[in-house]
């Protein structure tokens, strides 16, 4: 077969506020790649992740993973979530409230002799000092690190992340993204991440799929998906205020105030007329031509 690690083709009924929608999704993921899944709320992103993890059974379809059949509704075959060896980071972190940080991690061990990986992960996520605290005694960013470390204890081949950094502030998000990439290089797993953050998609993802109403509306590399025409779901809009605007290397470097943080935007030259300091602007993805990049500053 191909070098596809994950091969999915599923149908399901999505129950949303606007009634039942047919969900039909097919895509592949290459080994070691990072796939971002984005799109408006209710598009089926979380449902998709849970179907891959085996927590929800799709009504029909097939999921192949590294030559293993995880799901084949025709053959009435379904691998339980316990055997799929995915790491799952939930949007609400799902830390076990009655366990300490360390117990949350060691709960995932198959065999209590493998304590080494727990201390290794605690070290890498800078949680060693906090290992005897309970989850409610931690900040959001610390809880997120526990959730990430816990998902890695079993050395999963596939890490599934459901808007993992959405509740964190920008710098924390940036640090955790870097940590995630570091882990990915160390443990060599593939990742599917649900996110609304365009910066995150560009920083992390090799591939992106945009879901809307249970269907894949657009897929490709982040540049292909967000830089071409008429593909933007409504969430993908940036409002801000221009602070400074300079020309460098045939591009505009705009420092802008976006959601109370100063960020640098790299924009095509023809937008100069709109980027006058003091102006408010709204950017849609994709912008008419050229590339847009967000840089943390």
């Amino acid at each position: 077969m191909s070098d596809n690690l994950l091969d999915i083709n599923i149908r399901h009924s999505l129950h949303t506020a606007n009634g039942t929608l047919p969900m039909e999704i097919a895509f592949t993921l290459k080994e070691g790649n990072i796939l971002a899944v984005t799109g408006p709320s209710g598009a089926g992103k979380t449902t998709l992740l849970k179907q891959i993890a085996g927590l929800i059974g799709p009504e029909s379809g097939k999921i192949m993973f590294g030559g293993q059949i995880w799901l084949d509704t025709n053959a009435k075959k379904s691998f339980p979530p316990q055997l799929r060896n995915t790491g799952f980071v939930f949007q609400d972190y799902a830390l076990f409230p009655h366990f300490t940080v360390e117990e949350n991690l060691s709960f995932a061990l198959h065999n209590q002799d493998d304590k080494g990986i727990v201390s290794e992960l605690l070290e890498a996520t800078e949680l060693t000092q906090l290992s005897h605290r309970k989850p409610f005694q931690l900040s959001g960013g610390q809880q997120q690190r526990v959730a990430l470390a816990r998902a890695l204890v079993r050395k999963p081949h596939l890490l599934l992340l459901d808007e993992p950094f959405a509740a964190l502030d920008y710098s924390m998000r940036f640090n955790l993204q870097a940590l995630l990439l570091k882990f990915q290089q160390q443990f060599r797993f593939s990742i599917i991440i649900v996110t609304h953050d365009i910066g995150e998609i560009f920083r992390l993802a090799d591939q992106v799929i945009v879901l809307d109403n249970g269907k894949i509306e657009k897929e490709g590399t982040p540049a292909e998906v967000f830089v071409k025409e008429n593909t933007a779901p409504q969430d993908l809009i940036i409002h801000g205020e221009v602070l400074t605007c300079t020309q460098q290397d045939n591009q505009l470097h705009v420092n802008a105030l976006i959601e109370n943080k100063i960020k640098t935007l790299i924009l095509p030259l023809h937008m100069e007329a709109e980027m006058i300091p003091g102006n408010n602007f709204t950017l849609h993805y994709p912008i008419d031509s050229g590339q847009i990049r967000l840089i943390n500053s």
């Binding site: 979530p81 316990q82 060896n85 799952f88 709960f107 198959h110 989850p135 409610f136 816990r150």
Partner: protein, 224 residues
């Protein structure tokens, strides 16, 4: 004052609550998360004791337990147990009568936990059973405590069912609530008052302890 009825009451309540706890945990889990048809019927049956007059339940149990009918006859022949006017009969009746008080709070406690806790445990390779005992139960301690105490208190307060199937045999079926009734019937108000006061005080103290414990547990969780 004769302490025997009080002692009998608390023995009955403790045994009933322990038996019910063992039954109610799997039943509550099944009701909370199981996928099956006819859930409504099961829930209606469990909930019946909440609304039926105790005398109705007592009456049917009396018929069922009586050796003149097949169930009572069966039990008597197989186990040599007579359930009418006996302590084991009281225990079985109390278990049925207090079932909703144990099952409903535990089910509500299980359902109030975020689904992601169970899901996280499954993705970490843990079976349903291990998830239930190591993740779900420890996180609904307040619900289990509440259920246990409600069941206990409800059994202490039982009167109609006990009178119907247990009668009034000292040391066997004469529990405190029945003793109070007897004393009042005999116009022996001061003895009735003693039993009533003891029940009153003990029930109040138990509830006070439970709510204080639960409030503390909640406060710890919300202080995050």
């Amino acid at each position: 004052m004769d302490w025997q009825p009080l002692w009998l009451t608390f023995r009955l309540a403790t045994i009933t609550s322990l038996i019910l706890l063992a039954f109610a945990l799997p039943l509550a889990y099944w009701l909370a998360f199981g996928k099956f048809r006819g859930r409504g019927i099961v829930e209606a049956v469990i909930g019946m004791p909440l609304v039926l007059p105790p005398s109705v339940i007592g009456f049917y149990l009396l018929l069922a337990f009586s050796p003149s009918y097949w169930f009572g006859d069966f039990i008597e022949r197989i186990f040599g147990l007579r359930l009418v006017f006996s302590f084991p009969g009281l225990v079985i009746a109390s278990v049925l009568y207090s079932l909703p008080f144990m099952v409903y709070p535990i089910r509500a406690g299980l359902q109030s936990l975020p689904a992601s806790l169970r899901e996280a445990s499954y993705t970490l390779g843990k079976s349903e059973r291990e998830t239930f005992f190591r993740i779900l139960l420890p996180n609904c301690k307040p619900a289990i405590l509440t259920a246990f105490v409600l069941t206990f208190a409800h059994t202490v307060g039982e009167f109609g069912v006990v009178l119907m199937i247990g009668g009034n045999i000292p040391g066997v079926t004469k529990v405190a609530s029945v003793a109070i009734y007897n004393e009042v019937e005999a116009l022996n108000y001061s003895a009735a008052n003693q039993y009533a006061l003891v029940l009153f005080a003990i029930t109040f103290v138990i509830l006070l302890i439970v709510y204080s414990i639960n409030n503390n547990l909640l406060r710890v969780r919300q202080s995050s």
